[in-house]
Subunit: 349 residues, 2 copies
């Protein structure tokens, strides 16, 4: 019998979590059976997204259950094995953190094929330090890469603003953006972090958001040509200020809204962005003139649809230039069905 | 001397525009000179976006000037010509609406190469009714196509929700979405419009937003499987409700926010979405697990960057499972630089 300590959810937080939300418990683990392994965790990860799992709310991952141990990324070592795939001494990454030991059977070792983070994954300590698989080479690093490179498609010459820039995700975003040839601006919450960003991460500018008059003013100074890509880890005032400073065709990778996580009755606005994040929605502002290179293609397709009787349209017509204001004002009271037009004259024959 | 009546901006509106914002004036046009044409407008367009040009605010197009005629799409006929490119009787589209006649010189005929809507464009009345170039075959139609097809990439099987569905843009969106094999749900502001949407445009469901308890309740009924694409013409309650009903990976084409155009002190939220629209910003919510098929590629790139010394990282480490809650809580007070980790044990050798 092995004794293993684990952290359980004792109570759901109201707003900011406190020590009272957690309890430390000890469980006894039995001998392993055929097909099972015993893993001793060496490192465990704590991540901001776990705050969401503490609420009893359906989201993109299941909520933690009261009285049960929490879950999260961990790196462990196999200390007993009756499974041919894993030998004693192997290092494995799992989502079974928040506990010192665990027993995994074949189903747990294989994991949920729909969830790439589930299951047990062998990790090689000679390639990278073991714990880096929980950080730069793990979920936070991959988060930085997917948001900045795969989604926002940061390009050389872009000005990239990163909030929470000294965190696990943000610090990786900053450095990948520099590698890609971007101008990088970061915000963080202490002078020490700002110094690290400038001296070690090599960003072009950084500011301590707790020491500036406003995030918007700080951005006016450090990003005078505006922002092309905003990598959002924070929310709140940062999001509002970044949108204000965005350039045309800017991209916002909505990764985290940590400032809003502990606000049970956040503003409606932040509720909307939280939903956009959690549902992985893409919101695209657009002005038609930017797509006019496709106008000939559209006209051609449209003519075909009209010939086939697939498109109908309505017009609401007022006559005479003197009625143009009334036609315009009617748009806001819904006077029109279909296109509102003013007829000024008949063509000459 | 030809007398031409025109509508000028008399005063900028505060909130909803009124008749007092406009004045009807008559000007005398001189004889045309070499290279010029005299055009008589037959049709002029009124569009919601013109409301933005009535404010003295820099946006994606210049504001109207007080005392000057307004501008907008128009179809006219050349009634006198000293220009070899345009003959008397030709039909032309221009942005010189809100007036009965205008004289165009070569520069005006050619237009601004950076603005595809500028200049004079010959239109053929045998292909489509002349006025349709201001509607279904013009800017509103192209707006529908670019938002739905080019940006939101609506696909067969998607549920598409269209607000302002009976308007010039919305009615085209609905029908193109049906052609693409989507399930289409529309909202409009009268029973007559709802009937037109169902009977003529052929949408799957439509509701009168003035007669439902809330837009969200109406969506629960008409889009029980959620929304994959939202084509936004309205803003306000519609946007909030649509976000609530969006499915994972949904796309929102932010085309218009007419409900907010006349709100001089709109909510901050709506101000943010207005900026996202006007700057053509893309906001992309994302969860890293959706990109894990790219993890091997990332690890490979990362290993290279680390070898080349281009990536550094920090760790903040607490020791012992009993300190895991403190590590987690420290994330929200910014205790960490780089990845926050808990070390549970040293590996066995």
């Amino acid at each position: 019998m092995i004794e293993s300590r684990e952290i359980r959810l004792k109570a759901r937080p109201q707003g900011m979590p406190t020590d009272e939300c957690f309890e430390l418990a000890t469980v006894g683990l039995p001998e392993i059976s055929d097909g099972e392994v015993l893993v001793r965790n060496l490192w465990m990860s704590v991540d901001p997204y776990m705050r969401g799992r503490m609420d009893d709310v359906e989201s993109y991952i299941q909520p933690f259950q009261i009285g049960e141990p929490l879950e999260g990324g961990a790196i462990g070592q196999v200390v007993a094995s009756k499974n041919s795939e894993l030998a004693v001494g192997d290092f494995v990454e799992s989502m079974l953190g928040w506990r010192e030991y665990f027993i995994a059977n074949q189903g747990m070792i294989d994991g949920d094929p729909a969830n790439p983070l589930d299951g047990l994954h062998k990790r090689d300590p000679s390639l990278l330090p073991l714990q880096s698989y929980l950080g730069i080479a793990g979920m936070p690093g991959m988060t930085a890469y997917s948001g900045l490179v795969l989604l926002a498609k940061a390009r050389a010459g872009d000005t990239v603003f990163v909030s929470g820039a000294a965190g696990a995700v943000g610090s990786t975003v900053c450095q990948i953006a520099k590698i890609k040839g971007c101008t990088v601006v970061g915000s963080a919450g202490s002078e020490k972090k700002v110094k690290w960003l400038k001296d070690t991460a090599g960003v072009d500018a950084a500011f301590n958001y707790k020491k500036v008059s406003s995030v918007s003013d700080a951005l006016s100074k450090v990003a005078p040509r505006g922002i092309d890509v905003y990598f959002e880890n924070v929310g709140g005032e940062h999001l509002t200020a970044a949108i204000e400073h965005m350039n045309d065709y800017g991209r916002i990778a909505l990764c985290g809204l940590i400032a809003d996580y502990n606000e049970p009755s956040g503003t409606e606005e932040h509720g909307l962005f939280m939903q956009i994040l959690a549902k992985q929605v893409r919101v695209q502002g657009f002005i038609v003139t930017s797509s006019y290179d496709q106008y000939p293609k559209f006209l051609n397709e449209l003519a075909g649809w009209i010939r086939e009787g697939k498109i109908k349209w309505e017009e609401t017509v007022l006559e005479g230039i003197e009625n143009a204001p009334a036609a315009f004002l009617g748009l806001f009271s819904g006077r029109n069905t279909g296109k509102m037009l003013v007829k000024l004259a008949d063509p000459a024959v």
